[in-house]
């Protein structure tokens, strides 16, 4: 279980997290939603030590978390220049089993591995980054908006892969499209501000989605 206790983080005077507590169970998929700028990506960057934790404790199965436990798909993945898809997977794989796994995923997602990644479209880049992440056998997987720029068919394939590989891992994903999260997640955390996070389990998703719709409708009720 990935456990975040009393997390504190601020950019100067702007407080992002004030004693935040979150729990991500193993073998489950947790969706993270919230407004732009509320700190979803910041949380991911704290977990991966890109930003230093300013207070609180982050543990995995009772032990202090290390970045090496985490696979992280950023919103805009970047790649080393002049590298083919197949070369990327060769470098990323830690052992032959991971390499075979990644090749299988790549063919399922229709990736042209003999082409330069520089020539890939945005969606294809996202897909190959996704393939590399799930081929590695790290226990925590963080996906920051994994569906951005990906075609409809691959969207479904990605959902399937996430579901299949969440069996023995902690998977955390963020998205701005509610349905992509509710389709796949076992739990949703809705980050509202530095202190307030609401949790919704699978059987509460429909009610939550309705609440969101009503809230938005009320907000724009004066528009015709």
């Amino acid at each position: 279980m990935l456990d975040i206790k009393n997390l504190q983080f601020a950019f100067g005077q702007k407080v992002i997290y004030d004693h935040l507590n979150l729990t991500f169970p193993i073998s489950s998929i947790t969706g993270l939603i919230g407004k732009n700028g509320v700190g979803k990506t910041t949380l991911f960057r704290i977990l991966t030590n890109i930003y230093r934790n300013q207070g609180g404790e982050i543990t995995f199965n009772g032990e202090k978390i290390t970045p090496n436990m985490i696979s992280f798909l950023p919103t805009d993945p970047f790649f080393y220049p002049y590298m083919k898809g197949s070369e990327y997977l060769d470098i990323v794989a830690c052992n032959p089993a991971e390499l075979i796994q990644s090749r299988v995923f790549a063919s399922q997602l229709d990736l042209p591995l003999d082409d330069l990644i520089d020539n890939y479209s945005t969606g294809m880049k996202k897909k190959i980054a996704f393939v590399a992440i799930f081929a590695q056998s790290r226990p925590i997987v963080i996906l920051d908006e994994p569906y951005n720029g990906v075609d409809l068919e691959s969207n479904e394939a990605i959902k399937y892969i996430i579901h299949h590989f969440a069996k023995d891992r902690v998977v955390v994903l963020s998205s701005h499209i509610l349905s992509t999260i509710t389709d796949i997640s076992d739990r949703i955390y809705h980050i509202q501000d530095a202190k307030t996070v609401t949790s919704h389990l699978k059987d509460q998703f429909d009610a939550f989605a309705n609440d969101m719709k009503i809230h938005t409708k009320d907000k724009f009720s004066d528009l015709k």
């Binding site: 991966t48 790649f79 080393y80 220049p81 002049y82 590298m83 003999d114 082409d115 520089d118």
Partner: protein, 297 residues
């Protein structure tokens, strides 16, 4: 755009360094003056082939002659330190020769465009994948890289050829190690940066072995000079890799350190300057290990 400006700065630095450095070497090694023309031509052709803005330029300057004129003016500005030096020592013939070399490069320039985005890439399978920076850079340059490696053998002709060859290698290495790999490409283990330096030392050592042996065999009296150049090369490897991982982040794709690295490399052209550079490189090495520990340990 910033990247292009950085590349331009690199070229200007290179030429200022080469303009001063080559003349220094020429005086030191008693090279014939006409070698300035040859060196200027080779270096200009090398850089011209690596330019990535030719497709853009040809869309701006649609006629062949206007494009050549533009490139010629750029090339002239770049070799100006060398031309001015030749004129100062009253070598007007060689000054004009260098100017003509720039014209020759400019005339052929529009015919050679980079095409890596449309063609399948040529692989260099004999370069190991764990030194992927070196391998991908070599693959990108293609025949230029091969030509460059072969050029090193000509050190039997004059030790100055070897000096230019190694210095070009040194000034290219920061560009080789400029880009950050993505987070998943790093297989972190304790002493990650040291292992990376050793791996690259081993591979680059093999690449420079033959020209170095030729230089030592044909110019045994210059062994101390050859040793200093090899020391400069190894210092550059340590500095380039250390600086890459000092500033390494999984958020930005390019290192921000290249200008500082170039200044430190220029120091090496001063007698004994490599000692200052290596002390700086060792300092950066410890910072790099610390940064990687924070990101991965």
């Amino acid at each position: 755009m910033v990247d292009r400006v950085g590349w331009l700065l690199f070229i200007i630095f290179l030429f200022v360094v080469l303009g001063v450095g080559l003349q220094f070497l020429q005086t030191l090694l008693k090279l014939p003056a006409y070698t300035s023309i040859l060196f200027s031509f080779v270096v200009l052709a090398f850089i011209d082939f690596s330019r990535e803005d030719k497709v853009f330029l040809s869309s701006v300057f649609q006629s062949y002659s206007s494009l050549v004129r533009y490139i010629w003016i750029e090339n002239l500005i770049l070799v100006l330190p060398v031309i001015i030096y030749q004129c100062m020592i009253k070598n007007f013939t060689f000054g004009s020769g260098i100017a003509l070399a720039t014209l020759l490069v400019s005339l052929f320039s529009p015919m050679f465009r980079k095409s890596e985005l449309t063609h399948a890439k040529r692989s260099i399978p004999w370069l190991p994948m764990h030194t992927f920076e070196l391998r991908f850079f070599g693959e990108k340059l293609g025949f230029i890289a091969l030509g460059y490696l072969v050029f090193g053998i000509f050190s039997f002709w004059h030790i100055g050829v070897y000096a230019v060859w190694i210095l070009l290698f040194c000034f290219t290495l920061p560009e080789v190690f400029k880009w950050n790999e993505s987070r998943e490409m790093v297989h972190w283990l304790p002493n990650f940066v040291m292992n990376k330096v050793i791996n690259n030392l081993f591979v680059i050592g093999k690449l420079v072995l033959m020209p170095t042996l030729v230089a030592i065999i044909f110019h045994p009296d210059m062994w101390y000079f050859t040793a200093y150049l090899i020391f400069c090369l190894f210092t550059t490897i340590l500095l380039s890799i250390s600086f890459k991982y000092t500033t390494f982040t999984t958020v930005f794709e390019a290192s921000i350190a290249s200008n500082v690295v170039f200044l430190m490399l220029m120091l090496m052209l001063l007698p004994g300057g490599a000692l200052i550079t290596i002390i700086y490189a060792i300092f950066q090495y410890f910072k790099a290990e610390k940064n990687m520990n924070l990101l991965y340990a």
